[in-house]
């Protein structure tokens, strides 16, 4: 026969302080666990959204990132004439020769400097990135000292808002538009006319070439041909792969930190649950004896105590997730170690994370409760009745 569920529930209520403390411990652990998963997910999302699978990025061999790369004009022209480049609706090639440099800008409010990416764009740059939309103002006129800023730059950096001016490269640049790039890395960039920016920064070379593939499956063939061409010292990457590589170090760091912390934290919480459950068993020795005497089986007793512990884990998991879901309101901005540029990403909660966090909470509850429950189930009737 089964022991009613309400027995477990009432037990938790009787020892209120202990129950609250155990649940609080578990909730914190689940909170941290979920937070780390959400952070990793957010970073991943930002990067996946930033690149497009059908686009190819060309940078100098072994450069690793656009900032370190340099593509000379003759080399850029060779790429431009390759047959794999798609042609747009207006008959022009969907290819953008771009310049990427870093400049230091002070943040609004705190005045702290941070590295911001400035991208010199050409006509097709917008078309190649459908996730980027102009939301305010207009595009910069080619040949003028005008720039547009990503919404994240506009919000967080001095002089980044529409109508304001930024000074770099011995010129004043007026911000004529704001673009919305959603959750992507472009949100922390400033865009301007590539030829003007090359002049201002005195850089005679492009940083990268981005183009849409005519047929996505041709990429491997194209890559092999470009990389073996003796005129070119370039390397081709799919855009998605490029952005993934950009934050490998960051992602690895988050992973190491996350796994270590979660392991340590869960040990703490399991110990907390164990202490509670052992005490729950010890305090109720005579009760257990009575129930056994009434005819409840060992198995029912085991199930009851495991149930009680799972309940602790479950409530802890819910509370932890509840508070973790508020983290979605925050955006983390930090410097990417690999590119030295500002990278902003937010916590993102998915169903996968909810399942994982709840499973984690239940496992903690189970591990913490199973040993005490076994002890309770193995008590002999006579001795436990004598205990009080």
């Amino acid at each position: 026969m089964k022991i009613p569920f309400s027995y477990s529930l009432r037990n938790l209520r009787t020892r209120r302080l202990t129950t609250v403390l155990t649940i609080a411990g578990m909730a914190l652990v689940v909170f941290v666990f979920a937070a780390i998963l959400m952070l990793a997910e957010g970073l991943q999302k930002t990067l996946v959204d930033t690149g497009s699978y059908d686009n190819a990025v060309i940078i100098r061999k072994a450069a690793g990132s656009e900032v370190q790369s340099g593509v000379e004009r003759p080399q850029a022209s060779i790429i431009e004439t390759q047959p794999e480049v798609a042609i747009g609706a207006d008959g022009k090639r969907l290819l953008a020769k771009e310049l990427v440099v870093l400049i230091v800008l002070p943040k609004r409010g705190s005045d702290k400097p941070a590295n911001v990416v400035i991208r010199g764009i050409s006509g097709s740059s917008m078309l190649l990135r459908p996730q980027v939309r102009l939301v305010e103002g207009r595009m910069p006129k080619p040949g003028s000292s005008e720039i547009i800023a990503g919404q994240s730059v506009a919000k967080r950096f001095k002089g980044g808002g529409i109508g304001e001016t930024l000074r770099f490269g011995m010129r004043d640049w007026s911000v004529v538009g704001i673009f919305d790039a959603g959750n992507t890395g472009y949100a922390s960039e400033i865009w301007g006319d590539v030829d003007q920016l090359m002049q201002a920064f005195r850089r005679p070379v492009y940083s990268s070439i981005l183009f849409r593939l005519r047929d996505s499956s041709e990429f491997e063939k194209f890559k092999a041909r470009i990389e073996s061409d003796p005129r070119l010292t370039l390397e081709a990457l799919r855009e998605t792969r490029y952005y993934e590589k950009q934050s490998e170090m960051m992602a690895k760091f988050l992973r190491i930190l996350g796994i270590t912390l979660t392991l340590i934290f869960s040990l703490g919480a399991i110990i907390g649950a164990m202490i509670t459950m052992y005490a729950a068993v010890a305090n109720r020795t005579d009760e257990i004896g009575t129930m056994r005497a009434l005819g409840f089986q060992r198995r029912s007793i085991l199930v009851t105590f495991v149930m009680e512990s799972l309940l602790l884990g479950c409530i802890g998991g819910f509370i932890g997730l509840f508070f973790a879901s508020f983290l979605q309101l925050f955006t983390i901005s930090t410097m990417n170690f690999q590119t030295f540029s500002e990278l902003a990403f937010s916590f993102s909660l998915t169903f996968g994370i909810i399942y994982k966090a709840m499973a984690f909470a239940l496992i903690m509850g189970f591990v913490g409760g199973v040993l005490p429950a076994v002890r309770a189930a193995r008590m002999s009737i006579v001795e436990s009745l004598r205990a009080s």
Partner: protein, 385 residues
Amino acid sequence: MRILKLIFKNAFRHKLRTFLTVLGVTIAILAFGLLRTVISAWYTGVEASSASRLVTRNSVSLIFPLPVSYKEKIRQIEGVKVVSFGSWFGGIYIDEKNFFANYAVEPQTYLQLYPEFVIPEGQRAAFFRDRKSAVAGYKLAAKYGWKVGDMITLKGTIFPGDWDFVLRSIYKGRDETVDETAFFFHWEYLNETLKQKAPGRADQVGFYMIGVTDPNLAADVAAEIDKTFKNSIAETLTETEKSFQLGFISMTEAIVIAVQLVSFVIIIIIMAVVANTMAMTARERIGEYAVFKTLGFGSFYISALIFGESMFVTMIGAAAGIILTFPAAEIFSNQLSTYFPVFNVATETVYIDILASFLVAAAAAIFPAWRAVNIRVADGLRRIG
């Protein structure tokens, strides 16, 4: 004296529970100690910087170079003792995973500015003599098994091509805060090669390191340098080495704050665990406390019993945690040398550990003690389990 004996006996009445609590505290203090060490490792660059060194770089951002001709102009400025310069090389050793800092520098003045890099006299001369030679930190050399005289090839990311170096010297740090994972070589080697391969990029440096005669003059000298190059093609930004390093850290501030927050969360979690143990202990013994009261012991005595037990259990755990922090940091230091060149447990960390465990012990005992003190004798005696 009797109270100590009682506390001791009480603490071991539930051996399993005490063991689990001590284990919990040990893990928490260990984790807390390691996280504090991560934070201090983040700031080692700042710790190791000297007040008499200035860094001059292009005011636009670090990726823009400065002409090498600025060297003589900077040297003319009053208060400047030594001028050295260099470039961040960003080379890769075999694979991108093997990251370490590598620079091209002007060797003689650079070593003059960094007396904390200790190099054996014979090796120093050998390094100066050979233009293709390089110097590596002791930890770095140990990691890849390099010996003096070995040939090392780096793949350039900023400066394309494969670059061969001969390791002429291995430096050690003068003290613990010095980064022993750096790699540097002759700027001339870089420049001469660039003159042939990419003449447009030759005769440029990434940064100037400047030693001033008197640290008090640093601010004036910095302002003077920037004034000299105002309105030129490459305007400069000069700061002390410390603020240069701090600038880097402030860009990764979010991570530092997150680690800091997490370290406090650990303490709160362990507070919940210890408080739980104490709450249970006190509840079980409420009858005994009532007996104590009946016998005439005051509330001070009863709370001392509870606080004492909480302290005792927490301190055992904390001591074990602190002792374990050192070997654990050693393992971490080997695993994470790519991220943290210097990973030492600071004395300060140990103090914070002790303070945190005191707080945990005290906070855990407050509520049970308050309950035990306030319960009426008759209620206490009547209550069961």
